[in-house]
Amino acid sequence: MATTTHPKVHCASGSLTLAQVAANTLAGTIVVDPAPDRTITVLDGWLRAAGHNAAGATTLIITDTTASPVTIVSATAGALLQDVVARFGASNVTFTAPNAALTKGKGLRIGCTGSALTTSHSLDYLIYYTVTV
């Protein structure tokens, strides 16, 4: 049976410096704080490199904040061109399990794998998500 729901859509947006993305590789920076008993579901979003095309890192990742993080988005550095919006699900911006509920009580973080992200000055991001109790 099909169901119809009307959840409130939240968005997280901002700009991270290279250090915030690259620091400690997987550690990255938390962009949505964890909240007890809340479950986040990522619906859509985009990334954009500022200052220069991105390079260096193997992938730019958006994960939840569990100890063994669940990867939600994985973008190659080559997909992050200066001032160009790279949408989740576009070529080389893999959107893993869109609309899938993440680990309860965990937030969202942006980081990278491999070597540090280089050449860009910063990374702009927008993430649409819902929160359920």
Partner: protein, 132 residues
Amino acid sequence: MAAYKNLRAVYGSSAVAAIDAGVTCVKGQKQRTYTVVDAWVRAHGTASGTTTSVDISDTSNTIKAVVFTRAGLSNHATLRAGTATTGVATNLGKPLTAEEGIMIKTVGAALATTTDIEWCVLYTVTPTVATV
């Protein structure tokens, strides 16, 4: 970091004459700054002529959140912000001029052939810090 609980959306359809003149999608408010985080447009009737683009900007046309170039305005096709070359979104996610509204407007010659354009803008609102 910024997380917003109140993502807002404005949607409409405007005749090309109105788009050519400039449609204010959201009126400016005192002490408020809008940030366009996403948008799409859909033309009815393929755009032709020498129109350069249809832009979503603040009402003074100072900061352009998205520039939809004419080549992307195909009949009944949704053109999203960020689409390569035709949905240029350099300032998507960046604050517009404080206390200004959001506008959609033709740049260059008037749109031809197209009858109307549907548009949808997703945006957030933040308080503007008062200067003393």
